[in-house]
Amino acid sequence: MNTGKKKKINLAPYGYLLPCMAVFAVFLFYPFFKTIYLSLYKTNKMGEAKLFVGLGNYTELLSSASFRNSLKVTLIFVVIVVLGSMLLGLIAAVLCNKAFPGIRFFSTAYALPMAIASSSAAMIFQIMLHPSVGIVNKLLGLDINWLNDPKTALYCVAILTAWLNSGINFLYFSAGLGNIDETIYERASVDGASGVQQFFTLTLPGLSPIMFYTLVVNIIQAFQSFGQIKILTEGGPNESTNVIVYSIYRDAFFNYRFGSAAAQSVILFFIVMLITLVMFRIEKKGVKYS
């Protein structure tokens, strides 16, 4: 191969990659490794690494009841959010699957939550769930302090998040339904399959590739929810909504324990990566591509 005549390397292609690679390098790769580095140290208030503790931060976290609670809360939160937002998106997409008068209005309505910020949505839900003036208590004739009760607060923020995330799921599922061949339904109808049977035997399997993608995206997104929890509950009451991301925020920016917060970030990263990898494993077995 190497004949001594050196081919001049053309640098131009790298020039086109430079802007994006520079941003990635400074704000993604560097901080990512720095986070891992910080997680092995005790830090001072300025976030400088001071004392090497090895895996000390990790063992401390795993033995702390508060962090274990965070893991549990995050898990429940993610499950409710993912199931809720996918179900809502799926039902809406199935309802808008065939043309009917007003379909454009309804499609816009179902996708709309994706345009709304978590903070704005949180402030609206705060009033809806207000114990005395909120519409939820008035409609249900109840007197529950939804956001101050450890039993209900987590469900409230999870349902709000499911609502927020359902908009883009509606778009994903609509696109997926559009890709299913119409003629298989006609054949099924002739064979006498009922609507419900058709849904489970034709629609759901036909949706499985996009369903899988949507599931992965939703799980990753649900793990990252922050604004609504910061505004509605600040992790409380009684740490019942203290998901990992909020716990990272609190540890770093209130307690100035950057090392511990960094260790939590690394744990979060590994959880998300592990779930993604496992899902891709399962995908190879379960998802049918036509």
Partner: protein
């Protein structure tokens, strides 16, 4: 036992010969039946949609209703869904209580620059990945794709410390620069560029068209739908960003709307109507852009990209 019972059931009808008139009559009956059935189905579908859309839109409708409500009306035990004496004063008060216009301007500057910047950096990178040959192309592309796996929260602490050390806190650049590129954008543009034959690039090159001119004159006009989709998506996400602006801005001069309206939250509990009016004001830009760009977004994001 059950099986034997089933066996007893037989079709009671016997096939008889039918005259032509009877046949036509039957056809007419079936047709009108089918039409009625179809109408009933559409009716059911529309009704179901109305119910679901109402549930989905309820928070927004409720917010609009409260925003127009005089604050005295809110504090009753009755079910007050619609304001009896609608008023604009909440909007005026929200504007004067906090510098909402300034926040809106800040958010527009931030989201606008991020959107523009991402389109530029992502087009350049996607161009290199689709049309140029160079050493390490595959590896570099894998690295870019791998960045999608890293959740923003895994880097946010170090990023905060970095910009703090650089003395960038509380500036526009700290809001904008970290978000000037996105792996998703590069991937989306590359998907579109790959559909063009390489001969398009080669013939342009033979005609003496430089790379940059090729991008500006040929690629960008040909990928308007992808750029439109990307612009709508990026702008809305930047407009709605919460955690990063919360950490890196401290003064009213630099705060974005999402952080700014949470300031209305902490004034006092009597000002709920005012706070919701503020929320409605900041929702309007992102919703407008979404409604205007929705078609573009769907076409650009899902054409071909979704097919298994």
């Amino acid at each position: 036992m059950i099986q034997s019972e089933n066996l007893v059931l037989e079709h009671p009808e016997q096939k008889n010969s039918i005259s032509k008139e009877q046949l036509l009559e039957l056809k007419r009956q079936m047709n009108s039946k089918a039409l009625a059935k179809r109408r009933a189905r559409t009716g059911l579908r529309v009704t179901a949609n109305f119910v679901l859309a109402f549930v989905v839109l309820l928070p927004l409708l409720y917010a609009v209703s409260i925003a127009f409500m005089p604050s005295g009306e809110l504090f009753t035990m009755d079910l007050n869904l619609v304001p009896k004496n609608p008023t604009f004063s909440n909007f005026k008060d929200a504007m004067t209580n906090v510098p909402l216009l300034r926040f809106i301007l800040n958010s527009f500057i931030m989201a606008g620059c991020i959107t523009l910047g991402q389109i530029v950096t992502c087009s350049l990178a996607a161009f290199a990945f689709s049309f140029l040959d160079f050493k390490g192309k595959g590896v570099l592309f894998m690295i870019v794709m791998a960045t999608m796996m890293v959740p923003g929260e895994a880097t946010i602490i170090s990023n905060y410390l970095t910009v703090g050390n650089l003395g960038m806190l509380d500036t526009y650049s700290v809001l904008i620069v970290p978000y000037l590129t996105s792996a998703m954008g590069i991937f989306l543009f590359r998907q579109f560029y790959m559909t063009f034959p390489i001969s398009l690039y080669e013939s342009a090159k033979l005609d003496g068209c430089g790379n940059l001119r090729f991008i500006v004159r040929i690629l960008i006009p040909l990928t308007k739908s992808a750029i439109g989709a990307m612009a709508v998506y990026t702008f809305i996400n930047a407009w709605n960003m919460y955690m990063w602006p919360l950490l890196v801005t401290g003064s009213d001069q630099m705060r974005t709307v999402q952080i700014g309206i949470s300031m209305l939250n902490s004034i006092d509990s009597q000002s709920i109507t005012l706070m919701i009016a503020g929320v409605v004001i900041v929702i309007i830009p992102s919703i407008s852009i979404f409604i205007v760009g929705q078609k573009q977004l769907i076409r650009g994001m899902f054409s071909g990209a979704v097919k298994g």
